[in-house]
Subunit: 170 residues, 2 copies
């Protein structure tokens, strides 16, 4: 199964696509969509949504996963982030694909085995999964890949329980 | 100038289109996009965005205006609302149209002449502008029309200052 993970942000939105059977994962692409704080906010939302649409067209993920909003964060930041997430959900929704949502805690627990892991620990674990030579454009990109892998393992279990099989990277 | 006003909400998003020269306003259409709290939130965002796109195609507004988020509101509500606004901005942004943002205070000051006006006072004033037989599907619809009219008057002044003229309802 090919999964797109997204780590939303108004300045930097990380994305990562992996091909996975739920246990073994292959990196397809990862990167960061950057927007300038100097541009009008609505314009920046447009850039993020359109770039995301390009990624969907180019890399054809079957499912997607997004990190949940951290409500305890600064309200103004959370509200900005929610605008970006709204546009991201809309663009993902247009494809009709299944979209998962996971808290940062769940993602880290799943990938590192420890919910309060540092970003560097996440990157270290991702390298052991995807290859030691994996380069992350930034922590936003590695966080997005972690969300994608978290979703792939969750869905793999769900689908196995449902008696389905995932046709990838066997 | 044909202006679309939008009053975002996760359960009810009001919309209203007016044809205006900045002083006289004609109602084109108004209504409410409703989504069910029982549906997944991402799905509801999709419904709102797609319905908005239909309204744009059908009624061809030249500009749009959206009410600003009221930051002091309940954080959870504000974050939900921000998701809807993100999708709305994305869909409006795809058209390349000018999008204005106004606080509820500015809208009421502009339409009623009093920033703390009640919703009924807004409706009363809208009827005196758009015709006494105007029916509002709900307060979300009338609020959206008020935002549209607020934008039309603002832009009319702006464009007059810039030496342009607005070719409508003379």
């Amino acid at each position: 199964m090919r999964v797109l993970g997204i780590d939303c942000g108004s300045e930097r939105t990380g994305f990562g696509v992996v091909e996975s059977d739920g246990r073994r994962h292959q990196l397809v692409i990862s990167g960061v969509i950057r927007t300038s704080p100097k541009d009008p906010f609505a314009h920046r939302i447009g850039i993020i949504g359109r770039r995301l649409r390009d990624i969907l067209t180019e890399h054809q993920p079957e499912e997607a996963a997004v990190e949940e909003v951290f409500h305890a964060a600064n309200t103004k930041t959370a509200i900005k982030l929610a605008h970006v997430r709204g546009a991201v959900f809309f663009v993902l929704g247009e494809t009709g694909m299944h979209v998962g949502e996971y808290s940062a805690l769940t993602v880290k627990s799943n990938v590192v085995g420890y919910g309060r892991a540092e970003k560097q620990q996440v990157q270290m674990m991702l390298r052991s999964m995807l290859g030691q030579d994996t380069v992350f454009e930034s922590e936003d990109a590695s966080d997005a890949l972690a969300v994608a892998i978290c979703h792939a393992t969750h869905r793999s279990t769900e689908l196995r329980i449902a008696g389905s099989s995932m046709g990838a990277v066997r």
